[in-house]
Symmetry: C2
Subunit: 395 residues, 2 copies
């Protein structure tokens, strides 16, 4: 795995999460000023780190991101803001940069104050380990996890004309995942040379078709953030026009991969569901319909039960707030046609159900006849295990 | 229980549902032409009976409603329309009225054709039993049930000046209950003398604050309908102005009761949740916030687990699409203050959790500071039993 030049990355367990084997502090440091861009939750109730990062991005002069899991530092009032700033100061001191050059992310339980003694120790230890293990992306990805069962990490090596740039993406998901802007924590670091505005525009665009198209429970969090650091350490002039497009599509691929990973690791998931809606008048219409199907508990429980209950899928499409000709709809499940031109199709319930039971990935494809636009949405099924995770634990 | 004059009502089991002890056909007949009004699902995908009833209401000249459960006659194309019309013809023949004077409702599985032989026998037997047991409202209410565990039935005796009119309301709920217009089946019969337009306006208004404020899973069905028959058999002139208002508020009370019953009998429910949102700029804002909290799986699982997890409630309010000052929010759970002016309050987690475990009814009260408008929303909690019902059975 070829990594972006000029970054050091680490993770450390300081006791915010109970399991001592999983880091709860993640640290990303650039050895030179980096361009930073951010996309944030659309929730009216936002966590302290989001308030702070919004003020600092986009920027051409950022050096580090400090993140913690196990505590969201959300709904914590003035003291929460002080704690978020303190995290940037501690990071700055430990890494020899300016406090204003640090971004901060938190995820975990809402409404509890951060135990700053632990956090302080965590930041110092994470900084110390940067020199021993400068490329500990795995621990950094694990340091973002809450109810995630696996870490999410991906890389891209991008050839642009005769230049090579490298991207690493890290994300966390699992619960409180709803589709309203960067619904989760994601960090992208790259050594590509990007202008701040290009970086900002690009992650907004990529986010729209990737992280904003994934949902576990439709609940938009107070902490959702996607941050990118681009330090230009690959050398050369700023990427422009066609070069930017190549970079953008590689970033989109990488983020699609991470978004799919999040859906597949949705709390309690026994299936990953891809909803593909085609034939819409606009991409926004297609996304509304796909998102509504993906968020229906009745659709999600049907998939959990390996039940090809297309009536639930079709009726969910019908309340998405988009007009369409119901009599010309086709619906496919993993390629099998279940509903054709507004009427049921004879199919073997048993056969389709067996196929659904055996396949982790379920694709629901809905074809309308309103136009050529399409959209994809990823989600997980709804199982009794989801209820147990969220009813039995205070997360 | 004093019943509306001039109606005969019955229920019969014809085999659409498996349990032979529960009726699946309900019949309501007025002995004279009745005013009829209807409110219907906003889903783009609508069942055949909804298409038919929409064309026939409001009306001053309706005689009967025939309803079945166990099969929704939805997404059944041309054949479904023929079957719905056939139901009105069979009812007309059995009751000695005109086919155009009959409304029809269906609820149950989507996408299967009605077994018309059974339905035909059911309609005839239900009509025959009208003479022996003309007031069988309980069987008619049970005849609407699908996954409901109890039938929903209420009555009102309304004194208007020196006149007395009577109302009976019946409803079914339990699953595929989402807040976009009459999200369920409800039938209201009254002997009050009402003009068609008054009746239509009134049930639209009442529905907005009652049946449209209840949600089990946020999934708006293809068959949602509320129908009212008002046959004027109480005698006297049409109700006007202040008299109408008295009738309207009694109807609202009755429908509130039925809406609460539906939430309390939500699939798998172990708690009924009332979300009360106060201090909004408009009732529509209040309803949006209340509905968003009520539809969050994270809120619903927290209540199932008796967990006073106010962070989930507050963050749900934040993504309702309504702007508000997050720093002046108060949040109460069954009267206990958990969050005050944008910061956590010290409270005994154990005590509140014990109280939540013991009480079937949970009230979440959110106070904002944007204005004086308020709204209430009712829902059920989300339990592993909900998942079992919807994953293990093809409904």
């Amino acid at each position: 795995m070829e990594l972006p030049a000029g970054f050091r990355v680490s993770g450390f367990h300081c006791g915010l999460k109970q399991n001592p084997d999983v880091p709860d502090i993640s640290l990303f440091v650039s050895d030179r000023p980096a361009v930073a861009a951010g996309v944030y939750t659309k929730n009216v109730v936002v966590a302290a780190p989001v308030i702070l990062d919004r003020q600092r991005t986009p920027s051409g002069n950022m050096r580090a991101i400090i993140a913690n899991s196990g505590n969201a530092n959300a709904c914590t009032g003035r003291r929460g803001m002080d704690d978020a700033e303190e995290m940037t100061s501690l990071t700055a001191a430990a890494c020899g940069v300016d406090p204003g050059e640090v971004l901060v992310m938190s995820t975990g339980i809402i409404g509890e104050y951060l135990p700053m003694e632990k956090v302080s120790r965590g930041i110092n230890e994470a900084a110390k380990s940067l020199d021993r293990h400068p490329n500990n992306y795995v621990d950094a990805a694990r340091g973002l996890m809450t109810t995630d069962t696996v870490h999410k990490l991906g890389t891209r090596l991008v050839e642009i004309d005769k230049r090579t740039v490298r991207i690493v993406g890290l994300a966390k998901g699992a619960g409180m995942i709803g589709p309203k802007m960067a619904t989760l924590l994601a960090v992208v670091v790259t050594d590509a040379p990007l202008a701040p505005n290009d970086a900002q525009e690009m992650i907004g665009d990529v986010c729209d078709t990737t992280f904003n198209c994934v949902s576990v429970d439709g609940h938009t969090s107070t902490n959702d953030s996607m941050l990118m650091l681009a330090n230009g350490a690959s050398g050369g002039e700023l990427l422009v026009v066609a070069e930017l497009d190549v970079f953008r599509e590689n970033l989109r691929e990488l983020c699609t991969e991470l978004a799919r990973d999040i859906a597949g690791d949705g709390e309690g998931a026994s299936h990953r569901i891809t909803v593909l809606v085609r034939g819409c008048a606009s991409q926004s219409d297609a996304r509304k319909i796909a998102g509504t199907i993906a968020n229906s508990p009745l659709v999600k429980t049907a998939v959990a039960g390996a039940d090809p209950n297309w009536g639930r899928m079709l009726s969910a499409a019908g309340y998405a707030g988009v007009e369409f000709a119901a009599e010309s709809v086709n619906l496919y499940m993993n390629g099998t046609l279940l509903y054709k031109q507004g009427a049921p199709v004879a199919f073997s319930d048993e056969e389709v159900s067996r196929m659904m039971g055996q396949s982790f990935d379920i694709e629901i494809r809905l074809e309308l006849s309103e136009g050529d636009a399409e959209a994809r949405f990823w989600t997980s099924d709804l199982t009794a295990e989801y209820v147990r995770i969220n009813a039995d634990y205070h997360t």
